[in-house]
């Protein structure tokens, strides 16, 4: 008679559970780290856009184009986009886990969250990295001042 030994012998030490990446742990750490960074990034963004100089009145296409011509602001906005979107999505996932008891509905909502976040991340990254501050044939009045040399 053959029997599978599935029971541990007495006094066998606890075996470390084998697993890949501990998503729950890294998710938890991500929320804290990104939260701290976002506080700095968001208030920096609001300060530069709304408080410095003429404040909100100078925001137009030229202002945004000027910012996005500078690699510093491209990196800044990319960080803001990725950190905030993933932070928000993970928060939504948590809320779905808390309130949706039906496994199927939960799965559908999780997939919808993942898909919408992926689309927004790709679109946002595309805009930030391929943005042309001096579109050809644009009214010189509307574009940034440094475009005169190019156009």
């Amino acid at each position: 008679m053959t029997t599978d030994m599935t029971l541990d012998a007495p006094r066998t030490p606890h075996a470390r559970t084998k697993r890949g990446i501990n998503w729950e742990k890294w998710g938890w750490i991500y929320m804290r780290v990104s939260g701290v960074l976002l506080v700095v990034l968001i208030f920096g963004h609001l300060f530069v856009n709304l408080m410095v100089g003429e404040g909100i009145n100078r925001i137009d296409f030229a202002f945004v184009a000027g910012k996005l011509a500078d690699p510093f602001w491209i990196v800044y906005d990319l960080l803001l986009l990725w950190l905030a979107l993933i932070h928000g999505t993970n928060g939504m996932r948590t809320i779905v886990n808390d309130y949706v008891a039906n496994a199927r509905v939960r799965r559908i909502l999780h997939i919808a969250l993942l898909a919408s976040t992926a689309v927004l991340l790709v679109l946002g990254t595309l805009v930030l990295t391929t943005f042309d501050p001096c579109p050809a044939g644009a009214d010189p009045e509307l574009v940034a001042s440094f475009c005169e040399d190019i156009l």
Partner: protein, 247 residues
Amino acid sequence: MATAPAAEVGAVQEFTVTVIVRRFDPEVDAEPYWQDFDVPMYSTDRVLDALHKIKWEQDGTLSFRRSCAHGICGSDAMRINGRNRLACKTLIKDLDITKPIYIEAIKGLPLEKDLIVDMEPFFASYRQVQPFLQASSKPEKERLQSIEERARFDDTTKCILCAACTSSCPVFWTDGQYFGPAAIVNAHRFIFDSRDEAAQVRLDILNDKEGVWRCRTTFNCSEACPRGIEVTKAISEVKAAILRGKP
């Protein structure tokens, strides 16, 4: 001899309290229902006395657990006016008796009858964290510990396993696989005990998908604990210990 004054100063007041209990008999009822009782009470009485009066004088079928009736056995945790409390530690005078007192079983555990729930899932996760001292040394006499080392885990030694915290936790309500605050509190009690040698094992167990990371720091557990344990703080200390890799 002076005659007894009509209204003696400090006399115990008597009044009628409406108690609404969520009843359920699995052999008769398909769904739980609310039943109200008018109970004559004194200001010195507790909610447990109200339940006793109902069971002894009005309706003998009312079922609830209680043992010591003095806040240490952890048998009579229930949801009183929407908050998890021990019936034996909740005084009638601390409640607003102009309104009815609502009493129901604790949430998140299978309801068996009236105010009694199946505690087995709760104790199963308690057993999983290995809540016992594990040490390889065999000292001649006692295992020595400094006052500071003892103070490190003093708060979590106070747990009476009443399940008030775990059954107030919104994560536990929707995710029955979550260890729950009580199991983590009892793991904390041994993780930070200088005499214990299996802290790493417990940290590994609680680093699980359904472990401490499920905690959302809503503080429901700390608010519910009848022993005043800072449950959320204890859970956060276990999280920090897992990240450090040692207690």
